[in-house]
Symmetry: C2
C-alpha cells in the first residue's frame, strides 16, 4: 500500500477582518506512520467554531494563538487507522484538536475515545454531545443558574450553542427567547425547537421586539455576540440578572478596539453578574453532562441540526459562515467518508 | 420657645455635567412637630457620596431618582429632638435618609438607632461603621471572595470606601494595591493604612505602574471609577478574577453615553466574574458586619479619616469634591453641633 498523502491548511498570515482563503496555505505531505505511544487518525468531521477566529488573532486569549506556519487548530472527530498505543485500535472513533488536516499522527494522550455504546449518529458528537453541547450545558446551568419561571434570552440562537441553550432552558422550566438573523432561523427556533419566542434582530426594532418577547424582563442572557445586541439586552435585565459571556462574535473580525457595552452601568444598577467561561475548564465534568444530554436527546427533549460542508478544501471559506449568519445549527466540514 | 427654622436644599433642576450650586434651591420653613409615630430629628452629619450624583440623574438606577422640587436625598446622622414613638427618646442618636436639611420630621420606622455601647466617636458611624464601611466589607468579602495571597487592586483608594477595602484586604492576607490621584493620597495609603503599594494614576504610565504594583497579576478589582482605569486593569487580570463593581464615578458627570471598557473581552478570555452590588441589599446583614468592623477598629487594624465640611450651605459645592479628587477619606457635611 502506498503511503497516503496528508492535505492540510496552514496559517499563512493573520487575517485582517473576515478570513480570506489566502490567509491559509494548502500543504500536501506524506502521512507519517505512528511511533511508540502514537496513533494515526483519519479526520472525518472538522468542527468550525467562532473561537477559530480568536485563535488566529494576535491578542490576549485563553490559549496561545496559532502561529503563522502551523496547521490551523480545530476540534475534529476521526477514525484510528494505525495505533502504537494499547488503548487505541484501528476503527476506534476518537476526537481531538489535531486541526485542519486529513490525517494526523499524534500522541495517544491527546485523543479522547468516543463512546460506542450510545445509539446516536456520529454527528451528534460534533454537536449536542461534543464541546458545543457541553458549552450550552455548563454555560447555562453552571454560570447561568436558571430557576423555573425565569426568562432566558440567547443570541446567535440558531447557532450550534444557542439552539441547545434555549432547549435546555425549556427543560429547566424557563421562558426561552432566541435572537437570530433570518425569519427561517426564527421559525426553526419556535416551530421545531420549542423556543417561546424568537426575534429577528435584523428586521425588528430591537429594543421593542425584545421587550415584547420578554414581558417579565430578562433574568439570564446567554451571550454569544456582544455589540449592539448585548447593549440592548442590558437595558432590559432584571435585578440579579446573570449574563453568561460565552462569545463576542460581533468583535472577532474587527481590527479596531471595540468598546464594551454603553449600558455597562446597568450591571451595577441591577446588581447583575457577568461571567466569562471557557468550556475547556469543564472537561473533567464532561462525562456526567454527556450522559444527561444523551438522555434528553433520547427522550426527544433536545434536537440538533448539523450543517455539513464537504471537503477540507472548503474550510477557510466555510468558517466565515459563522459570522455572516449563513449556517443554521452546528457547522462542520466533512473531511472524509463516515466509518461504516 | 419659638418654632425653629428648617433650612433645606431642594433639587431645582437636573445637573448637566458637574453639579452647580444653582441646580439646588435653598428653602427655609418652620419645623413641623411630629405626629403619632413620628420623630423630629436634628441633622448632625450629612454624608456626601458619589451615588448622590446618580440620584439626581434621569437614568435607570437602583432607586427612583430624586424629583425636581424635592429635598435632596442623603444619608444623615442626627439627634432626636422630639419623639411621638415609644422606641425613640430625645437625645437618641439615629441615622436615616432624610436628606439635605437641618431638621426632619419623619416616621420612626425610617430611622435606625445608632448603638450607644461602642466606644467610638460619632463620625465612625459616617464611615467605617456606616454604609460606607458596609460597602467595603460586603463588596470585598461577599462579592470579591478574597483568598490569602491574592492581589486586590482598588480604585479611588483614598476615598471613603476604597481606603477601607485595602485595609480589609490586608486583614484577609491579600496584597493591597490602591489607585489615587495625588502623591499625598498615595503616601497616606502606604504609610498610614498599610497598603502594599499605591499608584498615582495621574502622574504614572498607568499600565506599567499597575504591572509593577501587581507583579503576580490582579485577582480582585474593587472598582469605584470605571473609564480608563477599569480598562487598564482588565488587561492585567488573572484567570478567574473577580471585578467588584461598586461604582463608576468616571461616568456620573457625563452627559454623553459612556462606552464600556474596550478590553471587555478579557472578561471572557480570563473567565472573570464582574458583579455589581448595591449596599442597600445587605442591610439585614449589617449588625454582624458592624460588630466585626468595630472589633478590627478596636484592634487598630482599621483606620479611617473623615473630611468634614461645615455648614449645610456648603453641600452642593462640597459634593463635587468626590469627583475632582479634593477630599481624602469620608466626606461629610457637619450640619449642626455634635451632641454632648
Amino acid at each position: 500500500m502506498s503511503q497516503p498523502i496528508n492535505r492540510q491548511w496552514r496559517l499563512k498570515n493573520r487575517p485582517v477582518g473576515m478570513i480570506d482563503e489566502n490567509d491559509f496555505s494548502w500543504h500536501e505531505e506524506a502521512v507519517r506512520q505512528p511511533e511508540k505511544d502514537e496513533v494515526l487518525v483519519r479526520s472525518v468531521y472538522l468542527s468550525l467554531d467562532p473561537t477559530n477566529r480568536i485563535w488566529i488573532t494576535d491578542m490576549p486569549q485563553y490559549m496561545e494563538p496559532v502561529q503563522v506556519g502551523d496547521v490551523m487548530r480545530g476540534i475534529a472527530i476521526g477514525v484510528v487507522e494505525t495505533s502504537e498505543h494499547a488503548n487505541f485500535a484501528p476503527g476506534d472513533i476518537v476526537s481531538g484538536m489535531w486541526g485542519w488536516q486529513e490525517y494526523a499522527t499524534l500522541p495517544a494522550q491527546q485523543l479522547t475515545k468516543i463512546p460506542s455504546d450510545l445509539p446516536v449518529p456520529l454527528d451528534a458528537w460534533t454537536s449536542v454531545l461534543g464541546p458545543t453541547g457541553m458549552t450550552a450545558y455548563f454555560g447555562l446551568l453552571d454560570i447561568g443558574q436558571p430557576k423555573q419561571g425565569e426568562t432566558v434570552i440567547v443570541s446567535a440562537a440558531a447557532g450550534a450553542v444557542g439552539s441547545l441553550v434555549g432547549q435546555i432552558a425549556k427543560i429547566k422550566g424557563c421562558r426561552a427567547v432566541g435572537l437570530a438573523g433570518t425569519d427561517e432561523k426564527c421559525n426553526w427556533l419556535t416551530n421545531d425547537l420549542g423556543f417561546d419566542a424568537a426575534v429577528n434582530y435584523k428586521t425588528t426594532e430591537l429594543d421593542k421586539a425584545i421587550a415584547e418577547a420578554c414581558p417579565d424582563g430578562i433574568d439570564i442572557n446567554f451571550e454569544n455576540v456582544g455589540g449592539k445586541i448585548l447593549d440592548t439586552i442590558l437595558t432590559q435585565i432584571n435585578m440579579r440578572a446573570r449574563i453568561v459571556l460565552c462569545g463576542l462574535i460581533a468583535n472577532y473580525n474587527s481590527d479596531e478596539p471595540v468598546p464594551g457595552p454603553y449600558h455597562f452601568a446597568q450591571i451595577l444598577m441591577q446588581r447583575a453578574r457577568l461571567e466569562g467561561f471557557i468550556i475547556l475548564d469543564y472537561i473533567p465534568q464532561f462525562p456526567h453532562a454527556i450522559a444527561e444530554m444523551a438522555t434528553w436527546l433520547a427522550e426527544g427533549k433536545l434536537k440538533y441540526k448539523v450543517d455539513v460542508v464537504k471537503g477540507l478544501k472548503e474550510a477557510p471559506t466555510a468558517v466565515n459562515y459563522l459570522f455572516t449568519g449563513r449556517n443554521i445549527g452546528k457547522l462542520v466540514v466533512q473531511v472524509s467518508d463516515l466509518p461504516k
